[in-house]
Subunit: 195 residues, 2 copies
Amino acid sequence: MDAARRDALLGFLALSDRLKHVERAAMTGARRENSGEHAWQVALIAVLLHGEAPDPKPDLARVLSMIAVHDLVEIEAGDTFAFDDKGLATQAAREAEAAGRIFRLLPPDLAAEVAALWVEFEAGATPEAGFAMGCDRLQGFAQQVECGAPAWKAVGLTKARSLVRMAPAIALGAPFAPMIEALYDRALAKGLLLP
Amino acid sequence: MDAARRDALLGFLALSDRLKHVERAAMTGARRENSGEHAWQVALIAVLLHGEAPDPKPDLARVLSMIAVHDLVEIEAGDTFAFDDKGLATQAAREAEAAGRIFRLLPPDLAAEVAALWVEFEAGATPEAGFAMGCDRLQGFAQQVECGAPAWKAVGLTKARSLVRMAPAIALGAPFAPMIEALYDRALAKGLLLP
């Protein structure tokens, strides 16, 4: 490894620290969850649920690699709450711009690799991207149910509107659908969603 | 997926949230880094450095799976600072006890799988465990150098004592050794370590 590559990697690592300070809509304990710890928990879900994916199973190395990089653009673009219509309208453009600025700080081969993983995740067209998306949505949903979903209450979220967000994960079937359905039951029982 | 399995998985997921509140010795911004976001950044390092591992490359799915679960025992045992001699003396026993209590909350097949990943990581005897250990040590070291290493200063850490901790990662050679060596140069230049 030459010095330029080494320094680019160390610089990128230092930059990535900022993802630990990107706040998400859900709470963990008395504070907002951040996108770094979120990404870890999404990976944990992937490890736990991979064995339950229908055959042929998605390639776990690619699933976990996608999960590790899927929110890096938020270092610049911030997290966009799933029910922030104004934020959602500009999300794709903001994140694409952030991707252009952030990934090119890596050595060129890794910049291309990380960009490809992120594009694959965002496009959602491969089995691996679908599985990673399911884990990501499940984490976000479970975290809201666990924390009492103040962000859902603040927008008066209905089950119907929530289902638009969760439909792609539910459409994956097992293992995601039964877990999300159980969480809907809990959310309604706790009054976190309007029926 | 039957209801008992589904509920065990949701319960474990809720429990795992606590890893986001286990404080490590390093700072990120003005606060302590937590073990959840640490585990994410270790995974990012594994994704970025995997291509530079000597052939035959470690299995990335197993490396990333190990990284996702490697600190779960800290939910009960807490993080043990690498230079806390008193804590280190009891660490293995505390973590083994925590593993026994935490992993069995999973369905039995997953409890065995996660325990096996954790035991493999701790034993460090496979190429995958070695690579995961290198990523883990590199993350911890880089984070300290980045944050100004108040925890190192508090114990008057010398380079010689630090090297005892970092030797296994340096012994892996590329890509870890050159990155760690560059970080030692920075740490000494900044006065974070005693020479």
